[in-house]
């Protein structure tokens, strides 16, 4: 039943790609917001 | 003649004159010197030779691949000429000076398009005879149809090439970005050109070339219109 190994590979790859991308997006969002907070704070100092 | 018609006619004549001026300027400019043409034409011949070595001495294999090899050579050598055409404008800042009239962007694009087309046709005038000799191609049988296919394929290639080069020539890594952006878009054109050329070279017993030629025409028309539209709305300096 080597067929199953391909099915498993397909599903495994799908879950891996989708979850990795989801994590990447959440991280990108967090980093972006941190950067913006820093920029805004420094704006505050400038008045 | 009533006002609007006269205005349209004068506008058209004015535009054609501007287009031709740009064609002339492009073809006679320094970057388009004979030396550059010679280099590109020679490179094309060299690529054909390399393909010959890559496919191997078996004539049957070469004949089977010939149409594809010729068109790939057109693509690889032609792509080198598009960026140059735009780089001139960048250097002198000539583009800003040209943009005085409303219809001018279209004129610039068409002018560049025609200049590039003439250049690539000239390269093909060298390339096709060389390929005919190297690969022993029966070009005389359907010479007229073959010329038509070459013209159609080249037009689509140059249309998109001129457009993408307008962008790539202003970017870093322009030599790699132009093929990267352009070549995937050319895949339908490549398929149509290679198939119809191949059919014609093999005698076109079943008249299949016609369907592929129609694909080429559709491709050319759609992307000519789309590129002109895109250029007018997207290039602002």
């Amino acid at each position: 039943m080597s067929e199953w190994s391909f099915v498993i590979a397909a599903y495994g790859l799908t879950w891996f790609v989708l979850s990795t991308y989801a994590v990447y997006l959440m991280r990108r969002r967090t980093l972006a917001e941190r950067t913006l907070t820093r920029e805004t704070r420094e704006d505050g100092w400038q008045g | 003649m009533n006002e609007p018609a006269a205005g349209a006619l004068l506008g058209f004549r004015g535009e054609s004159r501007r287009v031709l001026a740009i064609v002339w300027k492009d073809l006679t400019a320094e970057r388009r010197t004979k030396a550059n043409f010679n280099a590109v034409a020679f490179l094309a011949a060299l690529i054909l030779l390399l393909f010959g070595f890559a496919i191997g001495p078996d004539q049957a294999a070469i004949e089977a691949a010939a149409a594809g090899l010729v068109w790939l050579t057109v693509l690889f050598s032609g792509v080198l000429s598009f960026n140059r055409s735009w780089e001139q404008e960048l250097e002198d800042g000539a583009l800003e000076a040209l943009l005085l009239y409303p219809g001018d962007r279209r004129s610039i694009f068409l002018g560049k398009l025609i200049a590039n087309l003439l250049f690539v046709f000239a390269v093909e005038a060298v390339l096709v005879p060389v390929a005919t000799v190297l690969y022993d191609l029966p070009v005389l049988e359907h010479a007229f149809a073959l010329a038509g296919v070459i013209a159609l394929g080249t037009l689509g290639f140059v249309t998109l090439g001129t457009f993408y080069a307008a962008l790539a020539s202003r970017m870093r890594a322009r030599e790699v970005l132009l093929p990267l952006l352009l070549f995937p878009m050319l895949i339908p054109l490549l398929v149509g050109a290679v198939e119809s050329t191949g059919q014609l070279l093999q005698g076109d017993a079943m008249g299949n070339a016609g369907a592929w030629i129609r694909l080429l025409i559709v491709f050319d028309v759609i992307f000519l219109v789309a590129s002109i539209f895109a250029f007018e709305h997207v290039i602002e300096e």
């Binding site: 039943m1 080597s2 067929e3 199953w4 391909f6 099915v7 590979a9 397909a10 599903y11 790859l13 799908t14 790609v17 989708l18 991308y21 989801a22 997006l25 959440m26 990108r28 969002r29 972006a32 917001e33 950067t35 913006l36 820093r38 920029e39 805004t40 420094e42 704006d43 400038q46 | 998109l160 457009f163 962008l167 970017m171 870093r172 890594a173 970005l177 990267l180 952006l181 070549f183 995937p184 878009m185 895949i187 339908p188 398929v191 149509g192 198939e195 299949n208 369907a211 592929w212 694909l215 559709v218 759609i222 992307f223 789309a226 590129s227 895109a230 250029f231 709305h233 997207v234 602002e236």
Partner: protein, 238 residues
């Protein structure tokens, strides 16, 4: 400092709950696909790969339709948010296309014995992948903001125009050389699993685009404030 928008871009409140819903629905759809359908006559259990390959490919096309839509909208209205939406959709679409391509190859190997075959779907997917990688490369290599927006819109539109043309030409190309046995069209047994997974991927697509777009807005906002501050500092020192 005004920045790009009046306030700080906020992730809309529906996004995270929707993401959780999408995740749950996805798990459900995948389970139904895997467990509910009997092995197919010709393909056996390989048929189950269709439940990930086909939805990924379909939704990639939806993503590229969104790229077209927002690119056209940008050229019309010239509002930056449409450019960022188009770019977000392009990134998600490219990910889905790459996945669909890999899955197509995983399906091809046991079916035809080779990892690659020049069948219409694989070649079409590979071509679209290349076209949109080009789109992303253009954005990455263009530094001027205004230019990047305008040029991406043009390239996105041209790419989308080519989708039907590429599709038709590779199909003719293949059917001419060799009548291809394409995977069977879906029987009643399999429709439920396919539809559910198609929607599952769609919900994920929406979630991904929403988060990507939000991140893009925040990044742009930070960038704009940085530029404004740099200009202001420069003015002071003059």
């Amino acid at each position: 400092m005004a920045g790009l928008t009046e306030g700080r871009p906020r992730l809309p409140r529906w996004v995270i709950p929707f993401g959780l819903f999408a995740l749950g629905f996805f798990i459900l759809a995948q389970a139904i696909g895997l467990l509910n359908s009997p092995p197919e006559i010709g393909m056996g259990n390989l048929q189950k790969i269709m439940y990930v390959h086909v939805p990924a490919a379909w939704n990639a096309m939806i993503a590229f339709a969104l790229v077209l839509f927002w690119s056209l909208l940008y050229l019309w209205k010239r509002q930056e948010k449409h450019d960022l939406l188009a770019a977000s959709a392009a990134e998600v679409g490219t990910v889905l296309t790459g996945l669909a391509l890999a899955l197509g190859m995983i399906w091809a190997k046991p079916t035809w014995g080779v990892w690659w075959t020049w069948d219409p779907r694989l070649t079409f997917t590979a071509t679209m992948f290349m076209i949109y990688v080009g789109y992303l490369a253009l954005r990455a290599f263009t530094e001027d903001d205004e230019r990047r927006r305008r040029w991406s819109a043009a390239v996105g539109i041209l790419g989308a125009i080519n989708v039907p043309i590429v599709y038709m030409s590779v199909r003719w190309w293949r059917t001419l050389h060799q009548p291809q046995s394409t995977p069977s069209t879906v029987d009643a047994d399999y429709v439920l699993g396919l539809r559910m997974n198609a929607f599952a991927f769609l919900f994920l697509l929406i979630f991904f685009v929403a988060v990507r777009y939000h991140a893009a807005r925040v990044e742009r906002e930070a960038e704009v404030r940085l530029e404004e501050r740099a200009l202001a500092d420069g003015a002071v020192h003059v």
